[in-house]
């Protein structure tokens, strides 16, 4: 079943209008909690849940049945489907234990997955790339800037690792080290905060562009 593209094309102004209303409905929360916001919020939750479901069906479930099972004869996948369906026992208190079986499979797969080169290689890359030159000579002369940068890098790394070393209590000189580590960490968190502000502001800029350009045609 399908609907003609011409008909949908004729609905474009209505679609834009609805989109603008939905956007303003959500933004109304900035003034205060109100029924319009609650309405839009619930529409979002319903639509998002449905979209995830239909996309999974169209991209994984349907091809799995049509192609893998019916065309290629991989009927063993029924076992995998049965395991996946066991999760639906979770809402029933008496049978919740059955839903642990698919969870056990996923947990085992991912736990085993982690205990291999898949986790080890990035870890080793991080460790080996932390061994920086503490006396850098480039083109025959001493490079003060790179040497300074590398020293700061290694000091910050070591201080942070000491700060999170919980096996030994940080007393005496180690306690002062943790204070220095906290300063470096606050600088790093400040960097993360600055990046986060940039990210959040740009999310709203996208909405403003939609409202001014597509909806109100002011730009």
């Amino acid at each position: 079943m399908t609907v003609s593209a011409e008909f949908v094309s004729s609905l474009k102004p209505l679609g834009l209008f609805l989109g603008g209303l939905m956007t303003l409905g959500i933004l109304s929360i900035l003034y205060k909690e109100n029924p319009i916001y609650r309405f839009c919020e619930h529409v979002f939750v319903g639509a998002a849940a449905a979209h995830g479901l239909v996309t999974t069906y169209a991209n994984t479930i349907k091809p799995g049945i049509q192609v893998n099972m019916m065309q290629k004869g991989q009927w063993w996948e029924i076992i995998a489907i049965a395991i996946g369906l066991l999760i639906y026992f979770q809402p029933f208190k008496k049978y919740t234990w059955i839903s642990r079986i698919p969870m056990a499979l996923w947990l085992g797969y991912n736990a085993g997955y982690a205990l291999t080169i898949r986790t080890a290689m990035p870890l080793f890359s991080n460790i080996t790339s932390s061994f920086k030159d503490m006396w850098v000579v480039s083109k025959g002369s001493f490079n003060l800037l790179t040497t300074f940068n590398n020293i700061v890098f290694v000091v910050a790394l070591l201080l942070t690792m000491i700060y999170f070393f919980f096996s030994v209590q940080l007393k005496g000189p180690l306690h002062r080290v943790s204070g220095a580590a906290r300063v470096f960490m606050m600088i790093a968190f400040g960097y993360s905060f600055g990046s986060t502000v940039m990210s959040r502001v740009s999310l709203f800029l996208g909405r403003l562009e939609f409202l001014f350009m597509d909806w109100l045609h002011l730009l």
């Binding site: 999974t56 790339s129 986060t196």
Partner: protein, 280 residues
């Protein structure tokens, strides 16, 4: 005086919202057109795509949700445009329900502009819910991993483009658009760590940028484009200014407004503290 000080660090949140809204909205009508500075890691990402030999296989991982449109859309369009102009083949997959649907929407203009044809120059695989296991299966056969169906339900094995990409080791470059998990960490774990792929670049949201720089420094990523700022830099390098470039003035004024409020709040706080000390 005391009243003024208390008002300085007790501004109503709706006043802050209104001023912030004005700061973001006004530059959309009056552009400043200030020059954009290019970061080394953004230039590195651009160079990786630019210097690939023609006909390279590029996997684009759309690991983001639709809410990241403002940051990710310009990056996605810029990379796709550059790759298609250079004659590369692009394969788009996602572990997010919105990833491929938005890629289909946002790239139609780029496909039309570059004359790219579905099945010949690009293919969209579609959403697969379990990232690790699907990407693991791609290591032996991508057609099997995707159940021989693309995002639109068409047969993958019939498409001419699939002769260039049979398994993960055929990929020349992975471009991951990272907004959290799954993201570049997972691509590195599944493919990079097992030697299937040697080149990987990341288009990250601003929130993820600090984490991606760690991987860039470790050599796990060959370039990073972060946030709307990174997208604007990429648009400058590609030579096609878009929504990211237009948004930089608004972004700048918004940052200045937030900084101004932070400073005002702290001035009020310090003055109030000084007054309280005098009284006691």
């Amino acid at each position: 005086m005391q009243g003024l000080i208390r008002r300085m660090y007790n501004v109503d949140r709706r006043v802050i919202y209104a001023i912030l809204l004005l700061a973001m909205a006004l530059p959309m009508f009056f552009t400043l057109g200030l020059p954009i500075n290019i970061d080394t890691y953004v230039e590195a990402a651009y160079n990786v795509v630019n210097e690939l030999p023609e006909g390279s296989v590029i996997w684009i991982g759309c690991e983001y949700s639709a809410s990241q449109i403002a940051e990710i859309k310009p990056m996605l369009q810029a990379f796709a445009r550059l790759a298609l102009q250079k004659g590369h083949y692009i394969y788009i997959g996602s572990a997010f329900a919105d990833g491929c649907t938005t890629a289909h929407n946002w790239l139609q203009g780029v496909f039309a502009e570059t004359g790219a044809v579905n099945g010949e120059n690009y293919v969209i695989f579609g959403y697969r819910p379990s990232f690790n296991s699907t990407m693991e299966a791609v290591r032996s056969s991508v057609v099997e991993a995707m159940s021989d169906r693309d995002h639109y339900g068409n047969k993958l094995s019939d498409k001419p483009i699939m002769k260039h990409f049979e398994k993960a080791s055929d990929i020349d470059l992975v471009i991951v658009f990272d907004s959290g998990s799954p993201g570049s960490d997972d691509y590195i774990a599944v493919w990079r760590s097992q030697g299937e792929v040697n080149l990987m670049i990341c288009g990250a949201t601003g929130v993820e940028l600090p984490n991606q720089l760690v991987k860039y420094d470790a050599g796990l990523l060959q370039g990073v484009v972060g946030g709307m700022n990174g997208a604007a830099q990429l648009e400058k390098l590609v030579g096609v200014p878009g929504s990211a470039t237009k948004g930089m003035d608004s972004q700048g004024l918004a940052h200045l407004t937030i900084i101004a409020f932070m400073v005002i709040g702290n001035i009020g706080y310090l003055l109030a503290k000084k007054q309280d000390k005098k009284v006691s």
